[in-house]
């Protein structure tokens, strides 16, 4: 027995934060693992595809259905229990538990209603002198843990703590035919490139793809394939194409008090120069480093001007031309860190006067709001453009490169954008050499040029040893990058793995790799952008009040693929 509803007009199930819309007939709502297995068993035998969805906060369309039915795990949520092993405490959760719920559960510090996964763990966690937390912070607190695992989510704290992958202890996976596998880190490993594991009565045995996943930079382009890899890593970051996570154990870390800081610089150059020094200065050692360029500062100013309450921060200082965000541990070492920081700031035209710091949660929350306001402003804007330009949906510039290539990549961004005469803003995880670049578009003509440039960025990032998809994942809108990264051969090998684990290709069709080459062919057509100056429609985007910076768009070569 399981619940199935016709989707009809409730289009919520057909879209996610990528703002692309798909199509599906029904939504399936399992309340338990049992029901989930039943659903997959039935659907596998019929060969009807299902797209797994949870909180639908992804930005690459991973949970947007492409036909078939939507399998929404929204009722499978909640924290089940607490355990402890040699690495430390972990929490056992259902797949649709949101990061906010996890945070709130841990903040309550009373676990009496939870079950002990290992003996006495609840009580001992409650009695720990410091609070614990789940350190992966993809900024979106409404995201589900299942989604985080499927995409190997990361965020600002990845700078110190690593991505989701580093914090998963064990998962339970329901395979395409309803069989159940329990995967614990360290228990099942590939032998060279040969992987074999059992799930229920099945035994899967297959060759892994021959490429090596690039884990030296922030990277979210599929699972971490390598020699002797852990089975767990095959599922983490696989975007739901190999199986559905029905339960997970996530490790926790002790939370030490932090101070949030914003340091303002006169211009972009000085801030970027300071980044290098801060990163290499062991006396400062921040928790993460985020950047906001001059154009982003302008965006915040204009938003504040239109609606002072939209971001709960005081007005930005007049002399602020760019900004760096970073957290420092709030302990005895803070004064020394500030002293070192002051030297760096002075060398680059700034000072500790031109800064904000927040020790209390309310202040830190407001500074987080400021950081979040730029992507938010842009998301909102893209959504509002949908009326006039229905084919628009968001697609991130999401490239990370190794430290030594950071300058070259930055210079490349700047050169290409200036060459094309495009206005842009840049913000985000500069600590991981992973800033987001947003082009401020004014016409369809610019849109075409922007698309072309983004492809060049992706190619350049790969050439420099980076990733074209550092944290947003591949989903449905970046599948062409898989080939860019791993070549036709790599993709073909991954496809073979998929065919072994999900012979009828019912799970999340369209994510990571398509069933055949069709998609990458269509990508190619889409990527034949350079000729693409079509039409000269102007976008009616003037006088939009809150954001009179004009329409902001991100390139989307295969836009329309789902309309």
């Amino acid at each position: 027995m399981f619940q199935r509803q016709r989707i009809g007009h409730s289009t919520g199930y057909l879209t996610d934060e990528s703002k692309m819309t798909g199509h599906a007939d029904n939504v399936l709502l399992p309340y338990s693992e049992q029901e989930l297995r039943e659903i997959l068993r039935v659907y596998n035998s019929k060969g009807t595809p299902v797209t797994v969805a949870a909180m639908r906060t992804g930005v690459s369309g991973g949970s947007v259905p492409k036909g078939g039915d939507v399998l929404s795990l929204e009722h499978m949520k909640g924290v089940l229990g607490v355990g402890k092993d040699e690495r430390g405490y972990f929490l056992r959760v259902l797949p649709c538990t949101t990061l906010r719920e996890i945070d709130e559960t841990l903040a309550r510090r009373s676990f009496s209603s939870l079950e002990d996964v290992t003996e006495g763990a609840c009580e001992s966690l409650a009695n720990e002198p410091e609070a614990y937390f789940y350190p992966v912070d993809p900024t979106e607190m409404e995201g589900s843990i299942g989604g985080n695992i499927a995409t190997n989510a990361s965020g600002p704290r990845t700078y110190r703590y690593g991505p989701t992958r580093d914090w998963i202890r064990r998962i339970k996976v329901v395979m395409a035919d309803g069989a159940l596998a329990e995967v614990v880190r360290g228990e099942q490993k590939a032998e060279g490139r040969r992987m074999g594991f059992a799930a229920g009565r099945n035994y899967y045995s297959f060759d892994l793809p021959g490429y090596d996943f690039n884990s030296s930079v922030k990277n979210a382009a599929g699972p971490r394939i390598s020699e002797d890899m852990d089975l767990l890593d095959l599922f983490i970051g696989s975007e739901g194409i190999f199986g559905v996570v029905s339960e997970a154990d996530i490790y926790l870390a002790p939370r030490h008090p932090l101070v949030s800081n914003v340091l303002f610089f006169p211009d972009d150059g000085s801030a970027l120069a300071a980044v290098k020094e801060i990163r290499s200065d062991s006396r400062i050692d921040p928790e993460f480093l985020e950047f906001m360029d001059a154009r982003s500062i302008e965006l915040v100013r204009s938003r504040k001007k239109a609606d002072p309450l939209s971001i709960r921060i005081p007005d930005l200082p007049d002399e602020a031309g760019s900004a760096l965000f970073f957290d420092l541990p709030d302990d005895g070492s803070l004064d020394a860190r500030y002293a070192a920081l002051e030297e760096v700031a002075k060398r680059h035209g700034s000072s500790l006067e031109a800064s904000w710091c927040g020790h209390e949660d309310s202040d830190r929350e407001r500074m987080r709001e400021l950081r979040h306001s730029i992507p938010e402003t842009i998301f909102e804007y893209v959504a509002s453009l949908k009326g006039e330009m229905p084919k628009i949906h968001k697609l991130g510039s999401d490239m990370s490169v190794p430290d030594e290539a950071a300058d070259e990549m930055m210079a490349f961004y700047r050169m290409k954008l200036e060459e094309a005469g495009l206005e842009y803003c840049m913000f985000g995880h500069i600590g991981d050499n992973h800033p987001h670049v947003e082009i401020v578009l004014k016409s369809m003509d610019e849109f075409e040029r922007a698309k072309a440039i983004y492809e060049e960025f992706a190619a350049k990032a790969v050439e420099l040893g980076g990733s074209p998809s550092a944290e947003h994942g591949i989903g449905k809108i970046k599948t062409r990058y898989m080939e860019l990264l791993y070549g036709r051969k790599g993709v073909e090998e991954l496809r073979k793995v998929k065919s072994v684990l999900d012979p009828n290709w019912i799970l999340c069709p369209g994510n990571l790799v398509g069933r055949s080459n069709e998609i990458s062919d269509s990508d190619k057509a889409g990527a034949g952008h350079l000729r693409g100056i079509r039409g000269r429609e102007r976008v009616a985007g003037e006088g939009r009040g809150a954001l009179d910076t004009g329409p902001v768009l991100r390139a989307c070569p295969d836009e329309g693929a789902f309309d």
Partner: protein, 230 residues
């Protein structure tokens, strides 16, 4: 319990600092347990010049009267020449903002409640009060009690240097003897009200839960409840 500067008080402080002139001194004070010094430290970081913490074990259990008594004694001893005695009118913990006005009476000075704004006019201060149904502008003579009843959601953020400077500023603790008050004037013993019993606030209802996934169904349910038809 961490001690956090109440947003109403913080707003009051920033308003005062915004009209601070050369030679003015802004003194922050509060009454509370030792950890309340954290809130005072924040005041110092935000720009107050010095701070006093009225703290004594004997102060525990003080009601409005006993609290006002201690505050009035402090103002008389340490701030008798103050131009204004400023309060934030509502404390986050459910304190009802009665203290400023009892203090005003004990000091025999004028009181100004629900103040939204304050400015200087010549040598004196002009306050704008908001009574809900009317707005009043008054001149506040020296020594008046001014209570701000507003918060600023976009309130101040201090700079790192503010923080470092604030850490160096003086913060002094004053006990009961320092205020010259007797044991029966403060705390529980000096209170004019007492709690006879506490109870739980049980107003629970018989609850029926419905899990509804479809927003339009929720909307229909609500419409039905409101007795309105689309």
């Amino acid at each position: 319990m961490p001690s956090i500067l109440d947003p109403y008080c913080e707003h009051a402080l920033t308003k005062v600092l915004s009209i601070k002139e050369e030679g003015d001194e802004v003194v922050a004070f509060t009454m509370g347990p030792p950890q309340a010094s954290e809130a005072l430290r924040r005041c110092l970081c935000l720009g107050a010049d010095k701070a006093f913490l009225l703290s004594d074990r004997a102060f525990a259990g003080a009601d409005t009267w006993a609290t006002s008594r201690a505050v009035a004694a402090f103002v008389q001893r340490y701030g008798s020449d103050a131009d204004l005695v400023v309060f934030g009118q509502k404390a986050s913990d459910g304190e009802t903002g009665q203290v400023p006005f009892e203090v005003a009476q004990m000091l025999s000075v004028q009181q100004f409640a629900y103040v939204k704004d304050m400015r200087r006019s010549g040598g004196s201060f002009v306050v704008a009060q908001d009574y809900g149904d009317s707005e009043v502008e008054c001149e506040a003579p020296a020594g008046s009690v001014v209570a701000f009843s507003d918060v600023d959601p976009c309130g101040t953020l201090m700079s790192i240097s503010d923080r470092l400077r604030g850490a160096q500023k003086p913060l002094e603790t004053i006990d009961r003897v320092g205020l010259g008050l007797g044991l029966y004037s403060v705390g529980l013993k000096g209170s004019r009200t007492r709690i006879v019993r506490t109870g739980t606030n049980d107003v629970r209802r018989k609850n029926r839960k419905a899990v509804v996934g479809n927003p339009s169904r929720v909307a229909e349910l609500l419409l039905e409840e409101m007795g309105a038809r689309p």
